[in-house]
């Protein structure tokens, strides 16, 4: 009661440390999800998740079906890639992917045949309640599901039933705290029953007894919709939590802190405090994989921003080029427009619209340059106001950290816990001097990773060089030993029969030549 009273007064409005409340601009919250038509050409990159890239399984000219595996995963931290529709493989070559570097990656180009036939090799698992969690987990893996909240971490890894770290609570992350994005919001309104079903499947897989569906209070209709299906299900184990709107509450560790008061220690995972977080879209994808046997071939994307004439939420096939999607919403000219992949806080700038959408594409924003005001082109000196430290959700000191990163003092930056930064952008957002703080942290992290790579390469080189020295020494020793042996036998022979002396000498000469 005290808490709710404080809430009303506006005091207890920061359930996790720091955070900001930007203008949410949720212009598309009332627009129902529309299906995006099939583009004339799909471009499917062979890596759409965090981890190792996949190996293509198809060849140019092959006919593929929707949901057919077209690239197989390599290594543990990886999930396979599936064809977004039925059609023919046109070519396999490098193409730009949604990545801040603007670099390319091998992609499979598929020309749709318009029939959109599905691959039905995976059968539905309707009696999942009796299924072994490991079997369900394998299904989630082969369906290519990776976290659809933006990070695209292979989902099956999180769904491990581990005896040492039992999961007590599953948190369904419906926070969607990034401005503009409304894809999870709409999914909760339109597919609430499926999401609840998916949540039950997840709870069965990890053996959790409790679940919380966390939704920020700026999504009243989502809250109502989820509460409604929950009332029908009549389950005590699951509850809906309404959280005050605050960025970056959707970040896993911040959400756990808000809901349970537990802090996930640095370098640890939510499972170490007995929690599993799942995104709404991912939960729906898990539901589709188990109940229908559908591999992930589409996702909901919010297309918004002031340069988009008709903002909307769309169900888009993975591999659809951004230019085609923007064209669906009436945007065809891209002069004086900045394109963002993801939300405005953490999203990455795209250099051109000829890039396909992937599993991590939460939103496509197009914002006029005037509105962006080239925000961080002019960087003023730090005035030590301390706002950045106040809003940092992981309690860092961004201004000092940025100084160290700028001046390549990587060890000092590490001392200031650079690697705990979640790159949420709250510090850059509040900075009155427009210092691109997060950009400096990304630079620092990249440099530190480079140093680590060089060190490990140097270590390998050192071992190889030492190994070579040892080998050369051994070869030299062996040669010397051989020579000594020959000399010894010769000497002993010449001692035994001195008349043969001349003959053996010639033999030793030939030995030497060998």
């Amino acid at each position: 009661m005290i808490k709710s009273f404080l809430n009303k007064l506006g005091f207890a409005s920061a359930p996790f440390a720091g955070g900001v409340t930007p203008d949410m601009c949720k212009w598309t919250e009332d627009s129902a999800i529309e299906d995006c038509p099939l583009p004339p050409l799909f471009i499917v990159p062979i890596k759409q998740h965090i981890g190792q890239a996949c190996t293509p399984l198809v060849q140019v000219g092959d006919l593929v079906l929707r949901g057919q595996k077209i690239a197989k995963s390599e290594g543990y931290l990886s999930v396979p890639i599936h064809a977004p529709t039925s059609g023919r493989v046109l070519k396999i070559e490098e193409h730009a992917i949604p990545h801040p570097s603007g670099m390319g990656l091998t992609s499979i180009f598929i020309e749709p045949d318009g029939k959109d036939e599905r691959d039905s090799s995976l059968t539905p698992m309707n009696n999942w309640q009796d299924a072994d969690p490991a079997e369900l987990r394998e299904r989630v893996r082969i369906c290519g599901i990776a976290g659809l909240g933006g990070a695209a971490f292979p989902t099956f890894i999180k769904l491990l039933k581990d005896k040492r770290h039992p999961i007590e609570t599953v948190i369904l992350n419906g926070v969607e705290c990034e401005p503009f994005l409304t894809n999870d919001h709409r999914l909760m309104v339109e597919n609430s029953a499926e999401i609840l079903h998916g949540l039950h499947i997840i709870m069965h897989m990890v053996g959790a007894k409790k679940a919380i569906i966390a939704i920020e209070d700026n999504k009243k209709d989502s809250l109502l919709a989820m509460q409604k299906v929950l009332d029908l299900a009549d389950s005590d184990a699951i509850s809906v939590a309404s959280l005050p709107t605050r960025y970056p509450q959707g970040s896993e560790k911040q959400l756990i802190e808000s809901l349970t008061g537990k802090q996930v220690p640095a370098g640890k995972l939510p499972m170490h405090v007995g929690v599993l977080c799942q995104n709404i879209g991912t939960t729906k994808a898990i539901y589709d994989a188990i109940i229908f046997g559908h591999a992930i071939t589409d996702r909901i994307i919010t297309i918004s921003g002031d340069a988009v004439p008709k903002p909307a939420n769309m169900r888009v096939r993975l591999g659809t080029p951004m230019r085609f999607i923007y064209a669906q919403r009436g945007l065809e000219k891209f002069d004086n427009i900045q394109l963002l992949h993801g939300g405005p806080m953490m999203g990455e700038r795209m250099r051109h619209p000829d890039i396909p959408v992937v599993k991590s594409s939460t939103g496509l924003l197009a914002i006029n340059n005037e509105r962006m005001k080239a925000a961080h082109q002019v960087e003023d000196p730090c005035i030590r106001c301390g706002h950045c430290s106040e809003v940092c959700p992981v309690s860092l000191v961004p201004n000092l950290l940025a100084d160290h990163c700028r001046n390549d003092q990587l060890e000092k930056a590490a001392d200031y816990n650079l690697f705990d930064c979640i790159e949420c952008g709250a510090c850059s957002y509040v900075c009155p001097s427009h210092i691109p703080l997060v950009h400096y942290f990304r630079y620092g992290k990249g440099q530190a990773a480079q140093v680590r790579r060089e060190q490990s390469f140097a270590e390998v080189s050192r071992l190889r060089s030492e190994g070579r020295d040892i080998r050369l020494q051994r070869e030299k020793d062996e040669k010397a030993a051989k020579r000594r042996k020959v000399r010894d036998t010769l000497r002993s022979e010449s001692v035994l029969n001195p008349e043969n002396d001349k003959k053996t000498e010639t033999t030793s000469n030939t030995e030497g030549k060998k």
């Binding site: 801040p100 961080h376 002019v378 700028r406 001046n407 390549d408 210092i435 990773a449 140097a458 050192r462």
Partner: protein
């Protein structure tokens, strides 16, 4: 007189005990080799290229530790290596004599290779595979770009090519704001 005796005895006994402890400690915590040159060796990039004028990274580390060589001779290590060695040795940093080039790796044009194995013998990290009268090839992942294989090749069939940039190894550049550049300029002017 008695006090003097006690004082001498107790101090003597204390010295004896301390001596025994020190003797044991020097045996138990004995370190083989030269710890300083080990530390310097760990900072070097281990290309074994010999650009410093010594036959490899280890000899250069020994020379720096022995005070025979300056801290600024490692070309591939660049400024970062020079600074950390200077820091370790407690001496003033010195400007590098040569700029480090972009990372390169050796590439054998196999059509022209005559299979003489001379480059294999020259490679300090055993990164070239081949046998007499067989094409040789470079294991790109292990090549340090030291260029030691170029000189012995009798048919000049080895090229140094730029190391391919991997997507996973890409890192963010500094922001292109004026103040970001200022930091770089200040650091450079500091060493001039």
């Amino acid at each position: 007189m008695e006090q003097l005796l006690y004082a001498t005895l107790s101090l003597g006994a204390f010295a004896l005990i301390a001596g025994i402890i020190l003797a044991i400690a020097s045996k138990v915590f004995h370190i083989e080799g030269d710890p300083l040159s080990d530390k310097i060796d760990a900072l070097l990039p281990q290309t074994q290229c010999g650009q410093c004028g010594y036959p490899g990274c280890r000899p250069y580390a020994n020379a720096v530790a022995g005070g025979e060589a300056d801290v600024n001779h490692c070309v591939p290590g660049g400024e970062r290596t020079m600074l950390s060695i200077a820091d370790l040795m407690g001496v003033e940093p010195k400007a590098l004599e040569e700029e480090a080039s972009v990372p390169v790796v050796a590439f054998v044009r196999e059509d022209e290779c005559i299979g003489c194995t001379l480059c294999i013998k020259a490679c300090p990290v055993d990164a070239i595979i081949g046998a007499p009268k067989q094409y040789h090839t470079v294991v790109t992942d292990h090549c340090t770009g030291c260029v030691l294989c170029l000189e012995p090749c009798p048919v000049d069939c080895i090229d140094m090519i730029q190391k391919p940039e991997l997507l996973e190894h890409w890192s963010w550049p500094l922001p292109d704001t004026e103040r970001a550049q200022l930091g770089v300029e200040r650091r450079e002017s500091h060493h001039d």
